[in-house]
């Protein structure tokens, strides 16, 4: 896709988003005008600002048709072909990691993600990879779970039970 098409697509998409926002405000029965005795309605702010967003998108569309923006004259690919693969694989790996968090929990998912990235994209040695993964997991546990007392996602029951054991150990012997 060229930058030119991308700009058109983005402007149309953002116009639809703005209209969708305006529609949501109206559909929720929020007042978009003055409410007697109570001041501006709850819908004034989101409705009229979304209307402004729609106008700004229309303005961009007009500029696109007239070729006024540099992007509308740019026929080069939207995302550079050489780096498209790297951007794509990074984003997909990140998405897979977040999906895995729901299943196997924060620690296993982050270790797998870091390991995959370092070993298969970065071609680092297994030794560096494994050391970094362990270090990262310990750091997250120490900073967030221990010091900030946050309960990070643990995934399915099986993995959650495993962590209970670690937490018990910490409470009993380390604190």
């Amino acid at each position: 896709m060229s930058t030119r098409s991308a700009e058109l697509l983005m402007a149309v998409g953002l116009l639809l988003l703005s209209l969708g926002l305006m529609w949501t405000v109206v559909a929720d029965d929020l007042h978009i005008g003055w409410v007697e005795g109570r001041g501006p309605g709850a819908g004034v702010w989101p409705f009229w600002l979304s209307a402004g967003m729609a106008l700004a998108s229309l303005w961009t569309l007009v500029r696109w048709f007239r070729g006024a923006t540099p992007e509308s004259r740019n026929k080069a690919p939207y995302i550079d072909g050489q780096s498209l693969g790297l951007v794509l694989i990074s984003f997909v790996a990140l998405t897979v990691m977040l999906l895995l968090v729901h299943v196997v929990g924060t620690y296993i998912a982050t270790a797998l993600f870091l390991g995959f990235y370092m070993r298969f994209i970065g071609k680092h040695s297994w030794r560096t990879t494994v050391n970094t993964c362990i270090g990262m997991v310990l750091l997250i546990y120490f900073l967030f779970e221990w010091q900030l007392t946050k309960y990070l996602p643990k995934g399915a029951k099986m993995f959650e039970d495993g962590f209970l054991w670690i937490d018990n150990f910490r409470w009993q012997y380390l604190m």
Binding site: G39, L49, L148
Partner: protein
């Protein structure tokens, strides 16, 4: 005057408390590292590390983040000089002369000049800050909701008038941030608003950190991945005690331009849309104009390194001035700091000076100390930073992604927000590629709730009369300035087009 001295003394004492001093050290170190990494700047560091600061009390937390902010300004110069790529956009101007100096084997001289100039810039601006902040806060105490709203309009108008980005896209970005801030329960009527697809999670609203980490963590890394392909060449830096002392003796050559750049940077930094990047470019231009040998600029003139570095450090302090005194952030980084202050339960604005003098003066005191710490760390650790720069992105990128995920989860305890961060980050990246500026949206989502509240309060008290914004002198001044800023680029465009058609007709 005596009052300021007493308060400042108390602030300095507070900065020397063990915890705060430790925060200054860690903050400066983290900032130097983050600033030196190509693609990461102060705003990324502050956004990604804000969740971790909940470990310590608010004063220590803001001291840490502020130290990180200046540290990053120093750090940016390291990669500008040794790699020839700016470590952050704020260090772009440093490349012009820093790169040629490195190619001539004078990298150590350039790095020393950058460190010393940053120190001078930081010191001059923090003195200006100390002098300007208390009177400004007293002045701002008189502000009603009308003035608050007018000031925010002015802040957004600076993006349109001075931001230099595509105007409709800038407007879209501002409005999008303001609308995103409205998601959730309305503060006045209690009605739920903009709950898309009936997601219950949206009732609590979209946290500014979700957007900030999405854009400055995920989006920024995707951007860096796309643009940083290809080999980078690091210039060797030889640094000995003897050469260091010789380099320090060059200070006299660039002291005047540095002082000028510092004052300029401070004032440019207070403007929300301007900030450190334009300040450093303007300072570079100024140094070149007033130099005896303007032709040597761009070929390795040490003043060309010192001037922008002084200005970007001064600008980072300058951007704190409106944040602390008026509650209007002067840069994206301070917008995130402001959001952090709201999470810590502090209300930024003039009342902060009377309600929490310990917080304000502790911060100001820490700025003085942080300047000394950063210059010392910077000069001592230059060889180490150069080695850190060789760290491959295949380790740094996944670690930052992981920190983004854990950081967002730790602030809101919901996976929903983590997914939202991912989507906003991707959206921000795709929009940024089409020249939609992202900084206004981050500023807008932080200021959105405050702006809406002050607008509605003003209109309720005036019974719906919009003229209330134009009847009070301060509010009128802000509104007129804002109007001028918004009209200026349009007028410029029309004039250019007219000039274009007449020349075409000839």
């Amino acid at each position: 005057m005596l009052d300021i001295a007493t308060l400042l003394g108390a602030g300095l004492l507070q900065a020397f408390e063990p915890l705060n001093l430790m925060m200054i050290f860690i903050g400066c170190l983290a900032g130097l590292f983050i600033g030196a990494m190509p693609g990461l700047g102060s705003v990324n560091g502050v956004a990604i590390l804000l969740p971790v600061t909940f470990l310590v009390p608010p004063t220590a937390a803001i001291i840490f983040l502020a130290a990180l902010y200046y540290g990053a300004m120093y750090g940016g110069a390291v990669s500008s000089i040794t790699l020839g790529i700016p470590g952050a956009s704020t260090a772009v101007a440093t490349v012009f002369d820093g790169r040629p100096m490195a190619q001539q084997g004078k990298a150590d001289q350039a790095l020393t000049a950058a460190a010393v100039a940053s120190f001078i810039g930081g010191t001059i601006s923090v003195i200006l800050f100390t002098l300007f902040a208390p009177p400004l806060a007293v002045f701002a105490l008189k502000f009603g909701p009308q003035e608050e709203f007018a000031l925010m309009v002015l802040a957004f108008a600076t993006f349109i008038g001075l931001g230099g980005d595509d105007i409709p896209k800038t407007i879209f970005s501002i409005l999008l941030g303001l609308v995103m801030a409205a998601v959730g329960f309305d503060i006045i009527s209690g009605q739920p608003r903009l709950i898309f697809f009936d997601f219950v999670e949206l009732q609590r609203g979209i946290g500014f950190l979700v957007l900030a980490i999405g854009i400055y963590g995920i989006g920024e890394m995707l951007w860096t991945l796309e643009n940083s392909k290809g080999e980078v060449k690091i210039h060797a830096v030889r640094s000995t005690w003897k050469s260091f002392r010789k380099n320090l003796s060059h200070i006299r050559d660039y002291l005047p331009t540095t002082a000028l750049g510092s004052a300029l940077g401070f004032f440019v930094g207070t403007l929300p849309a301007a900030g450190a990047t334009p300040a450093s470019l303007m300072s570079y231009g100024l140094a070149k104009t007033f130099a005896k040998d303007p032709d040597s600029f761009g070929k390795g003139n040490v003043s060309g390194v010192a001037a922008p570095e002084a200005a970007n450090n001064a600008a980072s302090t300058g951007s704190m001035l409106p944040m602390i005194t008026l509650g209007i952030p002067g840069s994206p980084t301070t917008a995130i700091l402001l959001g952090g202050m709201i999470i810590w339960g502090l209300r930024p604005g003039p009342l902060l000076f009377t309600d929490r003098p310990d917080f304000v003066w502790g911060l100001i005191g820490s700025m003085y100390v942080a300047n000394f710490v950063t210059v010392a760390l910077n000069l001592a650790l230059i060889p180490l930073f150069v080695r850190v720069l060789a760290m491959p992105f295949t380790i740094l990128t996944p670690i930052i992604f992981i920190l983004c995920f854990v950081g967002v989860f730790a602030t809101t305890d919901r996976m929903f927000d983590v997914w939202l961060m991912l989507i906003l980050g991707l959206g921000g990246y795709l929009m940024r590629k089409l020249n939609y500026p992202v900084a206004p949206a981050v500023l807008a989502i932080v200021l959105g709730p405050l702006a809406e509240r002050s607008l509605r309060q003003s209109l309720i008290s005036s019974r719906g009369d919009v003229m209330t914004f134009f009847e009070r002198p301060i509010s009128l001044t802000c509104m007129l300035l804002a109007l001028a800023l918004m009209i200026y680029p349009i007028w410029l465009g029309i004039r250019r087009r007219r000039a274009g058609t007449t020349s075409g007709a000839e």
